[in-house]
């Protein structure tokens, strides 16, 4: 497996609070990385730095061996991002939003976007502002997947949603994995979601990764559920 992304010595503070501290991570292509951390431990900060939304204070991010500079946008065409609260232009229609996004992504798959809308029962004529949070999440996923990303970042997208909606979302991620072998970084504090799809487990605590290990190995070592493993690691750290 080849290396898709490398993070070296990444650090970020907000005021006096150090959120990320000298963080290192290597991401191999085609794998699912589960990023666990309590609320406020920097999962979203890491996702936002990778997406070029905020700059890091120090350190490097290399994508396919090339260093990414803040403000650069070309690499983002190969990234998909579904945040906890997707920001959309509320006055746009669903179709308008898709057309708007299509212009930015050279690999945009119109057929796929249309098929996904139908599968999710999203009306292209609906105004984005009228959609429920669950429907917005689905729309976020439609947009992210239509761009045929090589690297998909999911930042706690399912928190606050009901169980059937969350399971439906996971199923769609699984279909995506089976069809395209997309590399995924799935940040969450909901451990149950993760243990079904994670291959490599990352635990972010105190600004560092206190765990970066194959999930099966971690399970075999601890002989416990992911929930217990997580609580154990975080309270010991």
């Amino acid at each position: 497996m080849s290396e898709l992304l490398r993070i070296q010595g990444l650090s970020k503070s907000f005021g006096r609070k150090r959120v990320l501290e000298d963080l290192d991570l290597a991401v191999e292509s085609g794998r699912v990385y589960g990023l666990l951390g309590c609320n406020g431990e920097g999962k979203t900060t890491l996702a936002r730095i990778l997406m070029g939304i905020i700059p890091a204070d120090g350190g490097d991010v290399l994508y396919k061996g090339r260093r990414i500079a803040f403000g650069e946008s070309a690499y983002k065409r190969e990234f998909g991002y579904v945040p906890e609260d997707p920001f959309f232009y509320e006055d746009m229609t669903v179709r308008g939003l898709l057309d708007f996004n299509a212009r930015f992504y050279p690999r945009w798959d119109r057929k796929r976007a249309a098929a996904d809308l139908e599968r999710f029962a999203l009306d292209p004529k609906s105004r984005v502002g009228t959609l429920s949070r669950g429907m917005k999440l689905k729309l976020g996923l439609v947009v992210a997947l239509a761009a045929a990303p090589e690297f998909l970042i999911l930042d706690d997208p399912t928190s606050g949603l009901d169980v059937p909606t969350r399971q439906g979302f996971l199923r769609d991620i699984i279909r995506e994995l089976a069809a395209s072998g997309t590399t995924i970084l799935f940040a969450t504090h909901l451990v149950h979601e993760l243990e079904r799809i994670v291959e490599r487990l990352l635990v972010l605590h105190g600004g560092r990764l206190i765990l970066d290990e194959d999930f099966e190995k971690v399970k075999a070592q601890h002989q416990a559920s992911l929930e217990d493993i997580f609580v154990n690691l975080v309270t010991k750290a």
């Binding site: 699912v32 399971q167 996971l170 199923r171 699984i174 279909r175 994995l177 089976a178 069809a179 149950h192 243990e195 079904r196 799809i197 994670v198 291959e199 099966e216 399970k219 075999a220 601890h222 002989q223 416990a224 559920s225 992911l226 929930e227």
Partner: protein
Amino acid sequence: MIRVDASSFIPIYEQIKKEIVRLVATGQLKVHDPLPSIRDLAAEIIVNPNTVARAYRELEQDGLLSTQKGRGSFIADGAAPEASSKLKAYLGRIMDEAIAEAKTFDLGGDAILGLFEDRLRRSADRRRGGRHE
């Protein structure tokens, strides 16, 4: 048909393997029966497709499945006796654990056997009782 418990510490691919072994050993899956595609089973039970692929691959190595390119996976010839012996080995391991535990309480062979017989009787009673409900 196939169920997994994602929060169990038993790896999910092992659980999938055991489920298929159980279905073959109990005759619910027969020789040459097709299995769901990796993608379909993964979506159905909500697990990573790579996990299903690993279970299928290992079952193939064990001679329980045969996979033909473009046609999917099938229960292989001679899978039934192989599945029965695997299931017996699996149950044997659980019994071994119970026996080892019993020995820490200084129970002898007769006492352990008595316990097994007692549990068997109770489970048979429960089943008989169930029919009258």
